[in-house]
């Protein structure tokens, strides 16, 4: 009796897991477009201080969540760098939150793909959890008041033009 019950329960939970895994489901987002992004306080890669989202008020911010092991990040970081060089840091900031477990992995990656924008370290991924990252990499575009304007899940080189256009639109406001 008990065994049968257990088996039925097991069968049901296996089915539930399979269903949950393969059915497209709606995500409930805390980090939604039109809402304020949740604040953070993270150390910089250089170890010369900490940065919060509050510090960036008044600038259009491109916030990128990345890791050295993430395939598309090999392509995205160099493209973000040239974007940053073009637009400049007067009214715009790129802040990249690195989610590697160890700092060395990030440093090794950045030696091959150097960038001049701000890198923050979050080895435990608490900001990634707060911002409800679903795929690596994910980026957010924030307006001058810290509101999320758009989320970019994943990256392909062809998307850089769209990102550029979105940033320009915000800067022109």
């Amino acid at each position: 009796m008990f065994k049968q019950h257990l088996r039925r329960k097991l069968k049901r939970s296996v089915c539930a897991i399979l269903l949950a895994a393969f059915l497209p489901h709606a995500h409930v987002h805390a980090a939604e477009s039109g809402s304020a992004g949740s604040d953070f306080r993270l150390p910089t890669l250089g170890g010369d201080g900490e940065l919060t989202l509050q510090d960036l008020r008044g600038k259009v911010v491109y916030l990128d969540f990345w890791a050295s092991w993430c395939g598309p990040c090999r392509k995205s970081l160099p493209l973000y760098e040239s974007l940053y060089q073009e637009i400049g840091s007067q009214q715009f900031a790129i802040v990249a939150i690195n989610l590697d477990e160890t700092r060395e992995d990030a440093v090794r990656f950045l030696k091959q793909h150097p960038v001049s924008y701000t890198i923050l370290l979050d080895p435990v991924g608490s900001t990634a959890a707060d911002w409800q990252i679903r795929v690596m990499p994910t980026s957010f575009l924030l307006d001058r008041s810290g509101m999320i304007v758009r989320e970019y899940a994943g990256f392909e080189p062809a998307h850089i033009e769209d990102i550029r256009h979105d940033i320009d639109t915000l800067l022109d406001q």
Binding site: F22, H25, R150, E151, A153, D166
Partner: protein, 391 residues
Amino acid sequence: MKKLSSTVRSLIASSLGLPGMQELLAQEPPDEGISYLFNYYDEEPLPADKLAFGSPERYTIYSQQLRWVKNLDESYSLTVELLHEGMSGSSPWYVMPDPVAGPLQVMSGATIRENRNQADVALSRRGNGFTHTAALGYSTEDDYRAVYGRYSGEKESADGLSTIAWGLSYSDDDLEPTDAALFGRVESATRDSFSVSTSFTQVLNRNALLQTGVTLTSQSGYLSDPYKLVWVGETVLSDSRPDRRVMWTWTTRFRQYMERSKAALHIDYRYLTDDWSVRTSTLDLAWHQPAGENWEITPALRYYTQTAADFYGPIFSTTPGDGYWSSDFRLATYGALSYRLDGVMRKEKWSLSLAAEYYNSARHLALSGTPQDTPALVDFWRFTASCTVNL
């Protein structure tokens, strides 16, 4: 909450409709590049005390392979593979009784020289978590031609932690044995093979993943080896096998990350059973160890065991009633151990891989079944070098 400006509103609206940007993009296109592989395969000579007559020198094979991967656009990619193999040596012909030494192997006398060329083109399409691949291929030798096609698909779950895959393949083969009239071989024959497979891959936790799958293969047509003879009673007859074979294969692959050494343990197991009474088990253990900035060193051990086909025998004293007989060592009960060392060097733009393997087979290595004298069991060395340039 601050009111959104109209431009920002339209920005948000447009982002919802933008294809590709909106949903999950975990599916990455394959790395584009060109790879070259060289494989040297050398079988050890047959020991003198197992040889009746013929040449003790066995096969040496040089293989070269070229592979080109190109992403046609965001969702389509093309893979082209070309293979050339040059083979030379003698192959086991039949087994004859010897009142003193027991069964002895007769090898083909003259050195066989043969070339094989193969081309394989595969087109893949990715999108919405699915990947579909269709491929066509052609393989040709002096005496053998195969045309084949396959389709495979996979679906990644929404959370990217599991994958279901499925596949179909079909191969249509034509044989035209050389010197057929001279040796009384079949002049021409055909065989075909159909297989269907499915597998499931699951990330277990942040350090481990598991894949398990089954394949059903059905072969029909002329499945005998036209170049092999069998000692039956007082005479030698052509190798004779059933014209149908159905195989089930169950494969499981496990990967465990080792935090302390940053290495990975790979455990692969495969079980095969067919309607010829062949049962095989293959256990592959490998330790993938990163070394220095760019190297990965992998010692590996492979154990293989099989039981004989029910029509296998080194020698038949009487003619089997069902009309099937074979003394092909590949259908005997035996086991094999192979030791292997791989090294890979990975750089940003290229990678180089080297591998060496020693394979040793023997009847006493069989896990189950009743091993019979099988003088032709093979031992070989293999060296492989391959490199990939990312484009």
